[in-house]
């Protein structure tokens, strides 16, 4: 019944700029996207973050109702447009009712939520113009109306696996032939209240060291990544560029605290083992958070694949998994493994962590392990087409 699904386009908005080229160039060059924050006022010594360079609304928005777009939705919309362009698809040429759109976001529009609540608490009045932007599905709403897509859609909000969840859902739509083409990915933004709360709670690091013994916290980032997904046969027939094929494993859950990381690495290892047994690369969720890094290192120990952790360069955000899947697809397509920024050997648990500079190697299978607090796991396998 289900058909193989190809990744034929990538749209990335990241701290490295707008577009997949700038992202991949910087990531494989070992650059860090972390900078002192200048988007909102912060106290001296505040932890840095990986912020997206300023974007211009009218570069991406075409409709009058789209002009009030919020930042998260703008990231998502821009990534969709970039992905379509990258895939060589004219948006006007897509069958609107047969084109899927699945986006993920963990926190949505916290920045404007705070603005809305400030006025509500101070004056008891709500801003009706702001309210439509505060619903979690605003990115889906703006992207669908801007792109004119009326097909099946969903907004996934699954914490740290919001990006993986959206890509898995979008892959299912294409594999099950509910959609001929699907845009799938995720977006999240750096927001003042969230950054301040994490920094006050001392969860943030000034220099994150994913998967190495010095790990003392993570950094926040923001951005969006969107994949164009098509049936492999259709992609071949139109002569599309094939980054890779994508096959989400069915998700699973592990015993875990509701608000924290699972403790049982052996249980995770047992579930991941068959998925990464033949992998050449694991794109890890590790970000320098001690509990997460320890869990992941323990679960992957003793396996052969190389490991890279892009959140060292891009910072962490709810839908960063979409960026991880894009990284996996790029590694497969280019035979290049990006280094883990902030990591210096020796790696935890003897892992083969790509560090320092990018490594050239054939990647037939890359796996994004997809871990979230609360115990949800959503691995995605990307394979050479």
């Amino acid at each position: 019944m289900s058909v193989p699904v190809a990744i034929t386009g990538l749209g990335v908005v990241s701290a490295f700029g707008h577009g997949v080229e700038s992202f991949w160039r910087a990531l494989t060059a070992g650059e860090s996207g972390l900078r002192p924050i200048d988007r909102f006022p912060v106290a001296p010594g505040t932890a840095p973050a990986a912020a997206v360079p300023p974007m211009v609304v009218h570069d991406h928005v075409r409709t009058p109702v789209g002009r009030r777009i919020d930042r998260v939705s703008l990231f998502a919309l821009a990534a969709c447009r970039l992905a379509a362009q990258d895939a060589g698809l004219a948006l006007g040429g897509l069958p609107p009712a047969r084109t899927g759109l699945v986006l993920g976001s963990a926190y949505g529009n916290l920045e404007e939520t705070a603005t809305f609540l400030d006025r509500l608490f101070a004056r008891g009045t709500a801003n009706p113009l702001l309210f439509p932007n505060l619903v979690m599905n605003a990115p889906l709403s703006y992207a669908s109306l801007e792109l004119g897509l009326t097909g099946p859609g969903a907004m996934i909000s699954a914490g740290e696996v919001s990006g993986e969840g959206a890509i898995a859902c979008g892959t299912d739509l294409v594999a099950e032939r509910v959609a001929d083409v699907c845009f799938a990915g995720g977006a999240d933004e750096l927001s003042e209240p969230f950054h301040r709360a994490l920094d006050e709670a001392r969860r943030l690091s000034r220099t994150p060291h994913p998967l190495d013994g010095r790990a003392d916290g993570f950094a926040l980032g923001e951005g969006a990544a969107v994949l164009v997904l098509e049936p492999l046969t259709r992609a071949r027939a139109r002569g599309a560029r094939l980054y890779a094929t994508v096959a989400p494993a069915s998700g699973f859950s592990l015993p875990a605290p509701v608000h924290g990381w699972p403790h049982d690495a052996a249980a995770l290892a047992a579930r991941l083992a068959p998925m990464i047994a033949d992998a050449d690369l694991v794109v890890a969720a590790a970000n320098g958070d001690r509990a997460l890094d320890a869990l992941e290192a323990d679960a992957c120990r003793g396996r052969t694949p190389a490991v890279t952790a892009p959140r060292g360069a891009t910072g962490s955000f709810g839908s960063a998994g979409a960026l991880a899947v894009a990284t996996a697809a790029l590694a497969v397509a280019h035979g290049l493994l990006p280094p883990t920024v902030g990591h210096a050997p020796p790696a935890r648990r003897g892992l083969d962590v790509v560090a320092g500079r990018a490594r050239r190697a054939a990647v037939r299978v890359a796996v994004v392990d997809g871990l979230a607090r609360g115990g949800a796991c959503r691995p995605i396998r990307v394979e050479a087409a």
Partner: protein
């Protein structure tokens, strides 16, 4: 309780007591917090941190599992699919207010970390030991209709033998003040399809459904209550808040769901309407029903559950799916309450005035339409005995 309330035509909408609100409307359908301990095996410290919607979800999930006779520890690979819109927003609002007012020296991170919508699924999964795939979707007011559809699809495709579909949301200042600022709230309990309807009434709560393949149910000797025959999800691609004036996307969802179910429009015996009580939504919905059902609509009972339970936003789709299952199983047509002056534009329709009535039903549809134009229709059938 729900079946009795539906049969009695009870209106659960009363005064808003959850928080102070300075706007026009002051009514809501609030859930009286149960004094019984929360089900499952979460530690006390976790239970204290659970947000209202997470608690609602947990109670509804446990009730559904018990009603289905699912063994408490047989949950290994049961999937959990949740639809919600604001998660722990009320708790976050309070923490944010305290921090802004200087009552707390720091923003309570634990409250902010309770905001991600994924915590309801995590709480249900961890409390009840359900370790299958987990997904949280947020498409505004159609969120949990989509969760039901995704859970049914996972069962149909054999991804999981059993899936739990849950909708949950709690009243919060953000949505209450936001809808009021948009002048979308009726100052009286809402009056769907009434000539004098002025808007919706917000509600809260959770509903859960256990979905499994007919073969799996038979094998374990379970008695099915209803069958999910088909579903479809579409987008309007029109406006962030307003429905498409001709209901194009809503009609496509309804016809798509009927086609997927292999059910001719003539076979539908009951429509559980989205029926919010706003001028525009109800008018567009009736037009959609006329277009899909034609002259057959004149004899087709159509009722609005939101007249009894308010608009539970992300929970509404699952609540109304449960109501439709009860309607099919018990041969009960739940009424549209508060309907005093039928809108002359649809005085030819059967809107099931109070107190409702009995009727044998084989096939029913329930539709949910979300902000941003995300439409979901479900076609449900009576279980054969």
């Amino acid at each position: 309780m729900l079946a009795a309330g539906l049969a009695a035509g009870t209106c659960g909408i009363g005064s808003l007591t959850r928080f102070t609100h300075a706007g026009r409307a002051h009514v809501a359908a609030e859930v009286a917090e149960s004094a019984r301990p929360l089900p499952g095996r979460l530690p006390p410290a976790t239970l204290r941190r659970l947000s209202h919607p997470d608690r609602f979800a947990l109670r509804a999930a446990a009730e559904a599992c018990a009603a289905a006779g699912l063994d408490a520890d047989a949950g290994g690979d049961v999937g959990v699919y949740v639809g919600t819109t604001t998660g722990g927003m009320r708790e976050t609002e309070e923490a944010y207010r305290r921090r802004s007012a200087g009552e707390d020296a720091r923003f309570r991170l634990s409250r902010l970390l309770g905001t991600p919508l994924a915590t309801a699924a995590a709480a249900v999964s961890q409390a009840l030991g359900l370790y299958g795939p987990r997904e949280t979707v947020s498409t505004a007011c159609s969120s949990s209709a989509l969760a039901v559809a995704m859970a049914a699809d996972a069962v149909r495709r054999g991804v999981v033998p059993v899936a739990l579909a849950i909708g949950t949301d709690a009243l919060c200042r953000l949505t209450y003040a936001g809808f009021d600022a948009l002048q979308a709230l009726d100052v009286e309990p809402c009056r769907p399809f009434d000539r004098d309807r002025q808007g919706l009434s917000l509600g809260e709560g959770a509903a859960a459904l256990v979905l499994e393949s007919a073969a799996h149910a038979r094998a374990r000797g379970a008695c099915p209550r209803a069958v999910v025959l088909g579903w479809a999800a579409t987008g309007d691609a029109h406006h962030p808040t307003a429905p498409h004036p001709a209901g194009a996307g809503a009609a496509a969802a309804l016809t798509g769901a009927l086609a997927a179910a292999g059910v001719p429009p003539d076979a539908v015996a009951y429509v559980n309407a989205h029926g919010t009580g706003t001028k525009q939504n109800d008018a567009v919905e009736v037009e959609v029903l006329r277009r899909v059902f034609g002259r057959r609509l004149v004899r087709m009972p159509v009722s609005a559950t939101k007249s009894q339970l308010g608009h539970c936003l992300g929970a509404a789709g699952a609540v109304e799916a449960v109501v439709t299952v009860i309607a099919l199983g018990e041969g009960l047509l739940p009424p549209t309450v508060n309907l005093r002056h039928l809108d002359p534009a649809w005085d030819d329709l059967d809107l099931v005035p109070e107190p409702g009535r009995r009727a044998a039903l084989d096939v029913a549809v329930t539709s949910s339409y979300g902000f941003g134009g995300h439409n979901v229709s479900l076609v449900l059938g009576r279980a054969s005995r």
